[in-house]
Subunit: 571 residues, 2 copies
Amino acid sequence: MSSPATARTDFFARHEGLLRAAAEAIATRGFHSAYPESPSKSVYGEEAPEAGERAFRDLLDRPFALPGHPGEAGAVGGEVSPYGPRLGVTYPRLDPREAVATAKAAGRAWRRTSPDTRAGVAAEILARLNAASFQMAHAVHHTTGQPFVMAFQAGGANAQDRGLEAVAYAWTAQRQAPAAATWAKPTRKGEPLTLEKTFTPVGRGVSLLIACNTFPTWNGYPGLFASLVTGNPVVVKPHPAAVLPLALSVRVARDVLAEAGFDPNTVLLAAEAPEDRVAAALATDPDVRIIDFTGSTGFGDWLEQNARQAAVHTEKAGLNTVVLDSTADYKGLLRNLAFSLSLYSGQMCTTPQNLYVPREGLATDQGVKTPEVFAADLADALGKLLGDPQRAAGTLGALTGEAVRERVDKARALGGTQFGGEPLTHPEYPEAVLRTPLVAVLDADRDAETYRTEWFGPISFVIATDSTARAVELLRETIAAHGALTASVYSTDEEVLEAAREAALDAGVHLAENFTGQVFVNQTAAFSDYHGSQANPAASATLSDWAFVTGRFAVLQSRRPAVATQEATGA
Amino acid sequence: MSSPATARTDFFARHEGLLRAAAEAIATRGFHSAYPESPSKSVYGEEAPEAGERAFRDLLDRPFALPGHPGEAGAVGGEVSPYGPRLGVTYPRLDPREAVATAKAAGRAWRRTSPDTRAGVAAEILARLNAASFQMAHAVHHTTGQPFVMAFQAGGANAQDRGLEAVAYAWTAQRQAPAAATWAKPTRKGEPLTLEKTFTPVGRGVSLLIACNTFPTWNGYPGLFASLVTGNPVVVKPHPAAVLPLALSVRVARDVLAEAGFDPNTVLLAAEAPEDRVAAALATDPDVRIIDFTGSTGFGDWLEQNARQAAVHTEKAGLNTVVLDSTADYKGLLRNLAFSLSLYSGQMCTTPQNLYVPREGLATDQGVKTPEVFAADLADALGKLLGDPQRAAGTLGALTGEAVRERVDKARALGGTQFGGEPLTHPEYPEAVLRTPLVAVLDADRDAETYRTEWFGPISFVIATDSTARAVELLRETIAAHGALTASVYSTDEEVLEAAREAALDAGVHLAENFTGQVFVNQTAAFSDYHGSQANPAASATLSDWAFVTGRFAVLQSRRPAVATQEATGA
């Protein structure tokens, strides 16, 4: 079947090498990156930082330009930077039913083209997003509150790598069935029965991306690109507080689609005012057949229960856990954990929350540390890391909003032994709200209710347990029940490590062992590390694996006699 | 991690060649079969037919032996052959909660072993099922009512091929992530950050197979083997009228598991009396995480709505469709369709029901045939095929029960021009209920309500339409709305074929074009043809594709510094 939309530019030919390398990387899972994460002039060009900042400033205080996009232009928008300024950008408002119908209609030509063509278009979108990384970094910085360098990395290059990883899975998965085959069944009479068969991957329908406030691109790109490359049009519904990064992404996607000869409405932006609450209407539209969601457990569970017509991929909340048994590098352990707890003020779905320490203490190269001593040492390490205001701001970023600040206050009100949770002033943005990470000492038996709830933000608990065995059991039990995106263990004892691995397999969580250096449990690397496991309640999706892409398309076959006359006389 | 259960026999080594060939076949999708479908002595041995029949007779009128199986032995059983005799076999009754808990406990060791080991065990189970094909054929024949040769093929060899196909997908899917990888991230300072990572496929939890009356093994094996090989214990819940074929399968599986050093309770039989209705209780058990179901749309929809904790794979009902536009081989067309409608009395989920013919007629090499003339010619072809009582019995088999017979009577009461639907006497079993296929002429506009409902059994409609274009539109619309497992088109016009292909892609159904020879639309071949598409309401699963297996397991990772001391000094 020929495609009615002939691609004007052969983006597949341009990016085939990139795609093949990415496909190789997901099979071998070593280090791989297509987009440099260093925000340096030597990589991105002498002009890039200033040009990117200028391009960002040019977006402010005006309607966001989306040529040809349906809806009421400039109708919604109220983003306020966690660093203070109102962005003043407005976006089209699009009726949910119209969004889905428009995407569905636009998606017909997209469905008919080949996986190669779709992967080429996706790779070109990513190339242009990469070229716009500095502009994107400002947009992410001023919507999520991420520190700037992190915004460049997690919101730019690393998000692009996660996107490319999803492209590689989606592209490869569709090539696992051949485009055509000859089937020749031997018969006793001699002449085989012969059929010619064709196999066509076909997208499932309209795909909906419901993105989050904290990582709009990093968590959003995998679903967006997996759906696009498997032949589905995508409606992008950003969080009302973080529209700009995805509006930029949608614009780039639409530009490339149009240049390739496709309807730009194959990708649509469904921005909303906070009171519009269009996500539920979009999610239950019968034509929405795929949903990717990052956000609260409440709405994620609601989607899983109510959007029955769709394949629903969620990433929600959980109880990220650290089992502390023993270490040969106490200093490295403290430094590593202090950074993990501080990065973006603990507003990562991967930040450790529950740190279990045996009542009798953690055995270290500097002696045995009781839970209270360990908490104090961790607070010291945090103090060293965050002592310099510039460095503190560059690590903590800003709190996303009132809810997180209030949660810190609530944690402070728990009382008992605790450290941190104190206001800091951002050296550049006095309006930004910052808190040092709060570390509270709890008891495994007495405080179960407290630590079996997620406290999203810069809040962690050092939990005194009867033994490491009990801590491992708590890891298993709390994560099986409430989910987690990360788990860690520190031990010099191979048996403890083995027990932790077994518990992690039972609980369905990925494990980090003895991280004392410059790799952190809350960071996962595209092409090598899985993010989420679909094996515990925190997520029904993994970024990315085969299950993340195979449900987004069907392979339909058509078969016919190879030689009609031979068939006709076969009986 | 070492496995606590060391396999006593290396079944993987024994079957590695078979597995590799199967894995190659699913990638190339040409003809492939591991188990010969001919019930001949030259293939299966001089003694096989008689020994198989004896082995079947030895099962009758006594409790079915399942050593070590939990539950109240001999408590349920009431199978009656559609050919007359009561089987008199009884099975253990197992409380649903106990079934799931027992399987879950038994599955722990199974989860810990490797995909290779699990695939080897599965291949050995299939080898033993193949050796028991004659016994199985009698069991399928006398529970489903399939004619004997079909029972041997569809219930034996072809079902084993479908099972092996699922094994190949499940085994290959788990090998798509490496078992281990070294991740070395370059740093500006020189020394890379290096982690060692392991990747472990882990089953999702207890898997439940809810099997059907008509194809207990063919429709049941894919889910059973896909779940087993991906590391899940399986509870097999047969239809109360067709327990024996799956009881035999479960016994073989348990024998092989035990010989391989695993707990035989990794596979359990949950037989029930018709009034027990344990399926719903099993399906909503929180520990049941995978469900494979074949059966009615009503219960399939209920499962999709209510078994929210599980990945649900369903195969339900639909409106299998044939668009008749033109043919260069009218005789072949009639002969082919007559056989498709007759085979197993239309009690296949793939039997054509709605045959659209333009009012002005179907253009053929023997002139133009109006709907009424075509229906009469089809009735003639059916008469020729079924004129000899022995041949009729060997094609039609027996009706499964009252519901199908009543449906034929209801169709006869529709009135208008119609043929067939008449009683036949089985030459060997006078108690068997047989009906010739009923062909009724309907009008596309006037009789929409009638043909937009599934009439499971030997009932088909020749539907007069305004044009072929309208017929193609009806294919698209009725299948998108109500689902279908098969669609066919007959045309000598390349444009019509192209339009039918496009409509089939829109509707999400596989297409057969111009089948006039010895291949029939209601038959699909393992390794080459997909059965079901997960793209229309008739099924949420495809036998088999990657989506059928990837949701049955997660790959969990563990990562650790490659050299702890280097990591420790990295900061």
